[in-house]
Amino acid sequence: MRKATLWNWFWILLGLLYFFLPLLATFHFSLRARKEALSLLAYQQMIEDTRIWQALLYSIQIGLLTIGLGLLLMVPTVYWVHLRARYLRPMIEFFSLLPFVIPAIVLVFGLIRIYSGDPFPLTNTYAGTDFLLIAGYVVLTLPYLYRAIDAGMTAIDVATLTEAAQSLGAGWGTILFRVIVPNLRSAMLGAAFLILAIVLGEFTIASFIVGLRAFGPVIWQVGQNRAYEASALVIFSFLLTWILMALINFVARRAVVTSGPR
């Protein structure tokens, strides 16, 4: 074997070992909830724990609303900038990438200070906190959403499509929803799955704004006092992330998926 080949295999094997050991150890632990023998007891406990599923359902709803609000905000804006005001594009890009500079813990700090009192007492009601959480997540995931939509818009000829639609008598709503959006489908879907993956596992913002209503903080709490159930939950959430990433790869063969903030 060539020296270079040996070198390459060394790193691949080391990577495999490092990547799979923690998963293997967690899985191994999750099967040992009964002292005597291997069992799926931990998984059974997890499935019967309704708080987990309530929290997951809540986080899925928050995730979907985050995607909805994000798309509603970004698709028309990026479309407009591409069509009418290209000179505004650097500004939109700057603001969209700004959340990379503001860590989640700082963002939630500011959000809580502003919106826990007058003139916008959002944290006084459940609906208010839900909205604050969604707004926080839209900001947190804005860089990914912007990049996906901007890349999607760049790939299609926005001006020609718009003119063609207009010359056939289409109004603005028809143009946006029946011409532009279908052309952006894979970009939007890819971004949506990534946002869902980020929101479902998010802990920092959720723990300060809604606490144990969201999935991330509940995983944390289960880990504090019920180790076996927690290990099953870790395996479950890893599979969940895997499924969402596989969906991204499925909608865009070569999606550039960089990581979410943590």
Binding site: I12, Y18, I102, V108, A246
Partner: protein
């Protein structure tokens, strides 16, 4: 071409009011976006920024900024910076080797695509579940710890290792740093032309010479840029750290978290200054990243 398209488009839209209105109308389309950004990004940041320069009665002061340079707070920044530097460097170097190995022609395609997909998953698999997985692996009762103790007689914890410490946290962070590096650096490695290597070999260069004089200099901006990204990634991490150490490690994010829960510094304005300091570090890093990326793109385009 671009301006042609623009004017053609606006012609079709029949939007030709007085010239002075055109600019205003352009801005109208981005107002909802700007409003949202103002409310949920700029205002919260500005609140912390202004608060950093105020005393408890709202007067201007630099006292909070000065208080950042006291030993307890400086040590929190310093631990955060050290852990970010270390994991960016290790993750960067190992990630580069792994990515290079994966992209080598001798690596089977299925293995390459499986591991690249895994990197996408692992770089997003962070926070609480990650910390717990590492407790099940390297914690006192973790699989690896127990196996090493019982099969080899090697007691990690007696040798001074502790998962809930600086090094333990670093090993855990690497689980998302390494895959992120692989994903970020892969396009740059793919941009290395085969011809460059062949030309060097034809001229009698050894592999070491090729890397020293050609490969590394070309990749350097991308490598540095990627490592800066990794630095920021670790610097802002909160969930992984708090769930692994329970807040026992003195990181800047954990200090801010404690300050949000209850005014542990007994000075809200100093808390805002802590956050401001974090943003300043991140802003410096991201500007560097932006410059390096522009540099590396220029290089690869030629």
């Amino acid at each position: 071409m671009l301006s042609e398209r623009r004017s053609a488009a606006s012609g079709a839209l029949r939007l030709k009011p007085l010239p002075s209105f055109i600019g205003l109308l352009d801005w109208a389309g981005v107002i909802p976006f700007l409003l949202f950004i103002l409310l949920f990004l700029i205002l919260p940041s500005l609140y912390l920024f202004v608060g950093s320069f105020q005393d408890s009665s709202g007067r201007f002061t630099l006292e909070n900024i000065r208080a950042l340079f006291t030993p307890t707070i400086m040590s929190a920044y310093w631990v955060s910076i050290r852990i970010s530097l270390l994991t960016a460097l290790l993750g960067g170097v190992f990630g580069f080797f792994l990515a290079y190995a994966l992209l080598s022609e001798e690596t089977p395609t299925w293995l390459r695509s499986a591991l690249l997909t895994f990197c996408g998953v692992a770089s997003n698999f962070a926070g609480v579940p990650l910390a717990q997985a590492f407790i099940f692996t390297f914690g006192r009762m973790g699989l690896v710890t127990v196996l090493l103790r019982e099969a080899v007689g090697l007691d990690l914890y007696e040798m001074g290792f502790n998962l809930y410490s600086f090094w333990g946290l670093s090993i855990t962070y690497l689980y998302f740093q390494l895959p992120l590096m692989v994903l970020v650096i892969t396009p740059a490695i793919e941009g290395l032309r085969r011809e460059w290597r062949e030309a060097a070999e034809n001229l009698g260069a050894s592999p070491l010479q090729y890397w020293w004089y050609i490969g590394i200099p070309i990749l350097m901006p991308s490598l540095l840029g990627a490592m800066i990204l990794l630095f920021g990634n670790a610097f802002g991490a909160y969930a992984t750290a708090i769930s692994l150490t329970g807040g026992l490690i003195n990181l800047i994010t954990i200090l801010i978290g404690n300050q949000i829960r209850g005014d542990v510094l007994h000075n809200p304005n100093l808390g805002y200054a802590l956050a401001l300091g974090m943003v300043v570090v991140m802003a410096v890093m991201m500007s560097l990243y932006y410059l390096l990326r522009r540099h590396s793109e220029r290089w690869l385009r030629q």
